[in-house]
Symmetry: C2
Subunit: 461 residues, 2 copies
């Protein structure tokens, strides 16, 4: 019987992962043309998943022409699905698959592109190209263009009260890329990660060979007893706005975490992925800014606030790690193009970034109110309970339902709606909490909001 | 006595690595202010390095004010070098160190920026921003913008005779970044690397946790007996132009390598880093294009041909790996900014790239002749022997000298000249060949060439 390691699926839903495994075996010829797939019930039992999961995987393969259903006999691998023809006809190649076009994607946490001052960016780009054409060609230092690092340091000082020097800043091609470098910096160290948490973080670290242990959360954030017990040397957290729970870690817990790091000689990676979009009047100081012992690495990016298409992020290293970083990682070229670094430096230093953020915050606040009130008037209002957020671009919606998350997802996907569930974010499956949707509302304006309400009504009622 | 693992230094020269280790211990306070460093001779003996190496490390620390020499007593850690003040005064922070400004850098393999048609790029950028402002903001699929993948596939078809579909292409933020992803794709597999070889390749793979074994070269490229004996599953090679030896692997050896991959179920990563700059009239077919079994991943980048400041590279996956790639790595966002991908797609599809390449090839050929004849007329002509290259931006220069590579390097660095040695590229130190300079000549035009000759005369005679 076909056997796949379903624990390797990362954040991919089980049915989708199973579909990919089967598809890969069909394309590689391991499942030969004309071969019969196992019965749905039998395979479900064998893999320890529900029949509906296998059904969903088989249907998708059928829809793509990789397998065909023969009435009362089962599913058979199609001839046209063989590797030789895969590129030109038959199944569309796998790399494209992940990029299904959704009617509506509530899992994406992109902000609305229309809010960004494209004109300003274009103007600055033109200006850099005319004033300093070499900006395009000169390679920048490993840690990034000094002007950009200075601009970021200035922004952090003015906006977050963080007294950092430009030399502590490393610019990289988005937060994910910086995670890979951090995994190399701390290679051999055990990582503790929030559970539930943002799945890409775990994927990037485990993909880089790091051993990761889940640490549960209480109302204040990461549980110290579990953290101490797991013996990790590096803790990755988002104290300003935990994903997906939305928890904000209060000052007392922040101090406890710092003293854990100090006493164990450990490090904390503070992932400040969206605190720019906080609505609270006075955000708490970052861990990095109250860390006297030099045990915090601060990570942030421009993906949420400018655009996910602008792959630029940065981290702030404590002084004590500068030498180590340079030894171990200084040989890598800076992965952000020079031109973009020049433009971004001017965008921040010229005050455009702060002005954009303030407009963006207002827009998100308005959008959030509109979404919350539309949901309150919707047909599913009686079946859900919403946790209202103080910060960020998502909120949690608990659903009263008997359907499993897999069933709800399947219902939604048939309508072209992509949903994110809290259970997708579980690291330890025993902790997975069902029936909680993570709604990323940033893109829900105007017509898309009424569409979202309609689609959710169909799925939830 | 101070003990450092000098094998961890990667391609950093020993003295520079030792300097970094000491500096890091001084900044972290492990070596306290006022403490005496070990005697040069004693430390050299303890670490198994030459006295001149320790001397060079101590001098650099002294020049930076991290240590002070007290006559007839030795070197002492300065008070001003303590961590608290490191950011603002005293030693410049370590991340900057790697970026020493050289009078002349013969190790850099950048092409001359002045050859790139900046005006065309600027025009295309303006056009994208005005015709399609969303290009800046919309995030592209994991494997890259489809238009760019199509343009690259078209280029490979027309220029290299490679029949690849755009779906096989993955765009990434430079070759180094793609190495990191390949290490994750093949995690757990043993890698075989050319010895000598490009040090960053080894650094990136070992940094990612891969086990790497050196495989020696004969006149045709990688030795098959060593390859078979080492039991690696993945082989990373540059058959078009091996770095640093300049070897071109002939067709028969290419076939043997492919049959190794086929029979062992292994994979070959074909790193075609600079074959665009070949001068031979008919380049050999790439391994990828004669690989019927789907066991070759082709990697190339635009760093050499456009600019190292333009972080964009790509790989071509065989069909059989598309599914696996998508499962394991499809969650990463594409690390190249959208805007740049749009501009690059137009640059290639509009024929600008090929025109630029043909100009670039001519310029490199001219420059190479000029460099070779200037060297032939130089004061050091009688002491060196040059292997003339058919391809690429560097050549080898064997020196008749009694001085060690470390001594030559030190002499050069005192003059502000950065040299690259073949011994820097050795993986297994027992194979390190001394007295061979790797001369990257691409930047040596006009005044820089005469400066290079002058400086080399001082170092070599």
């Amino acid at each position: 019987m076909l056997t796949y390691d379903l624990t390797a699926r990362g954040r991919t839903p089980i049915y989708e992962y199973l579909y990919h495994c089967l598809r890969s075996d069909i394309l590689s010829g391991k499942l030969a043309s004309g071969e019969k797939l196992p019965g749905k019930r039998a395979l479900a039992e064998h893999l320890g998943v529900s029949v509906i999961t296998v059904e969903a995987a088989y249907s998708q393969l059928e829809a793509e022409g990789c397998v065909e259903a023969r009435p009362r006999r089962g599913f058979y691998v199609c001839a046209g699905a063989m590797p030789a023809v895969a590129a030109s006809q038959g199944c569309p190649p796998a790399i494209r698959d992940g990029e299904r076009k959704w009617k509506l994607d509530l899992r994406s946490n992109s902000v609305d592109a229309s809010l960004f001052p494209v004109g300003v960016w274009a103007k600055l780009t033109r200006r850099v190209l005319s004033e300093d054409p070499d900006a395009l060609l000169t390679s920048v230092p490993h840690a990034g263009l000094m002007e950009l690092r200075e601009a970021i340091a200035g922004y952090l000082r003015g906006y977050k009260g963080m007294a950092v020097s430009p030399e502590q800043i490393v610019v990289g091609a988005g937060a994910e890329f910086l995670y890979l470098l951090l995994a190399q910096l701390f290679s051999g160290a055990a990582f503790a990660l929030e559970d539930p948490g943002y799945p890409k973080i775990r994927q990037a670290y485990t993909g880089s060979g790091a051993v990761c242990t889940p640490v549960g959360l209480d109302a204040q954030g990461v549980r110290l007893d579990e953290l101490r017990a797991c013996g990790a040397a590096v803790l990755h957290i988002s104290p300003a706005h935990q994903y997906p729970t939305g928890l904000v870690t209060p000052l007392a817990r922040r101090q406890e975490l710092l003293s854990w790091a100090r006493s164990t000689g450990g490090y904390i990676i503070e992932d400040d992925y969206d605190s720019e979009l906080g609505f609270a009047p006075r955000p708490l100081p970052t861990l990095s800014s109250i860390d006297a012992a030099g045990r915090v690495i601060y990570v942030s990016s421009f993906s949420q606030t400018i655009s996910p298409g602008m792959r630029a992020g940065y981290l702030v290293l404590p002084e004590r790690l500068l030498g180590e970083w340079s030894h171990r990682l200084g040989f890598y070229s800076c992965a952000v193009p020079s031109l973009e670094q020049h433009v971004l430096a001017r965008f921040i230093a010229g005050g455009y970034y702060e002005r954009h953020l303030s407009r963006l915050r207002k827009a998100c606040r308005d959008r959030r109110s509109a979404v919350l009130s539309a949901f309150a008037r919707s047909g599913f209002a009686g079946r859900v309970e919403i946790s209202e957020p103080e910060v960020g671009l998502h909120f949690l919606m608990q659903i009263k339902t008997k359907a499993s998350d897999a069933e709800l997802r399947l219902r939604a996907e048939k309508l072209g709606l992509r949903l994110g569930f809290m259970s997708d974010c579980a690291f330890d499956p025993r902790r997975a909490r069902e029936h909680v949707l993570v709604i990323n509302y940033a893109a829900l304006s105007g017509g898309r909001l009424s569409e979202a309400v309609e689609l959710l009504e169909q799925v939830l009622t």
